[in-house]
Subunit: 316 residues, 2 copies
Amino acid sequence: MQNRINNLFGIKYPIVSGGMVWCSGGRLAAAVSEAGGLGLIGAGSMTPEILKENIRKCRSLTDKPFGVNVPLIYAEIDAIMRVIDEEEVKIVFTSAGNPKTWTKSLKNNGVTVAHVVSSSKFALKAQDAGVDAVVAEGFEAGGHNGREETTTMVLIPQVRRAIELPLIAAGGIATGEGMAAAVALGADGVQIGTRFALTEESSAHESFKNACLRLPEGETMLILRKLSPTRMIKNDFFKLLIEAENRGASGDELLEIIGKGRSRKGIFEGNLSEGELEIGQACSLINEIEPVENAVKSLIDQYKAATEKLSEMRFN
Amino acid sequence: MQNRINNLFGIKYPIVSGGMVWCSGGRLAAAVSEAGGLGLIGAGSMTPEILKENIRKCRSLTDKPFGVNVPLIYAEIDAIMRVIDEEEVKIVFTSAGNPKTWTKSLKNNGVTVAHVVSSSKFALKAQDAGVDAVVAEGFEAGGHNGREETTTMVLIPQVRRAIELPLIAAGGIATGEGMAAAVALGADGVQIGTRFALTEESSAHESFKNACLRLPEGETMLILRKLSPTRMIKNDFFKLLIEAENRGASGDELLEIIGKGRSRKGIFEGNLSEGELEIGQACSLINEIEPVENAVKSLIDQYKAATEKLSEMRFN
């Protein structure tokens, strides 16, 4: 089978793991790559030194391709890019920033570059900047999110019409049915966050993982539109924020409530009350913490079943 | 081909037109039914007398099955249900209310009943109430919307796991690719609003239709969470509302800004500045005002192409 994502990254299945803060360490990335997908180390919650450790750890666990996800608004971005260069990482997914800033120098170093967008306007900008692939992420995704609130169902066909590049769908995809839906909408592959955040190899705290598994439908919500829209669990911390928003609090007031280290506290330290618990809507579809290998196998099995169901539903 | 939605309603394609205020008159419903789908007359913007006229008009234009969509919170609900009984309408889609209130009496009169939900919790309630099918509608849909903001991509697999009943996906589906995606996610059929709202046979004002066609991605937004969450175009009226929300306005203050007849003014009278312009995110995928017959043909053609693309992407 020819698949542009598989060919571009040299992988077996067009399944990329998202670069999720406090979840996507070297262990998770290596497990995803070993299972046939493309594992990404998430630099967003790492110092340059810790990123270097995680790249080395990942390489010690797999000889398959893996990459690093880099939020371009990161304060220490130059040091992060230096580590990527020194450690000879050959796949970089950039997000949260202008793709023009780094794409050229990365590509000059022989790096394959993908950029994460939330609209077809940004997808065109990424294509103009010379990236090799685009990740289009919908409103249902966990954590930081686009301002236009376009869902995966609408975003993927829109981006597919706008660009020629290989397209990876993200947001709300946690099962093989979702993967088949993404392909039907025009994607060449998928980026999966939430499901991999809740695997054994994810570096998130066990309490966070268990809280996500127990979570009823509708218990994540997008908030912080006055700052950077973010999807999180409706815990005590969320309630402080929504009360402030409902009474018209300014961005500065919200920043004061947030303070520092909220996502670390929630996701990595497991403080379910005071932490910022970033996770996608699709966590309601996940019932157990499993090894990555099982998750990938189940995604492929479900994908096959969904495509067979579709092939049975034909019209004259 | 066996399809539960086709069998249930006696139609050729499992495509239902949404009951859209000021769009879904007898003419649109008849056109959808004539094209092989299930046309619905939207009672939400009709007096009982006008509903009666539209039912008679629809029947004069087609001898194929059609139905009426009834928001159960409607003030004149008893009179509306009396018209449905007297005119011997045999298919009713209920929404915005408790399915227990009317399902039994409708079914006793030989009516096939579907109920619109925004969560699997409400889908279970509809199943318990004895409905024949469930419509699950995601966050990307136009107009009134669920409080949990679950998108179609996450909602459909969730509802599919919760209930056994025939399942119709709605929200963000405007193309055959979207239809294939909905089937991959577990739906038996689709309900399409936005695309049919912008056809020739829709009773919406031409100015409204053209404004929707010209609309860039990201130009609809869900708002009014303190009242009833509603997706609309970001026009001048919307800006009044969002400014009020951002300064912490109460539900009562918002009601005062809204006043009366805003959706009629926008959708039916074509006042693009002061009217409430309810439409789904998927309007960015629609490029022309076409006859319903063409829209349905194109949906089926695109569905076939999408399923063929999927059948080519197989994994070992």
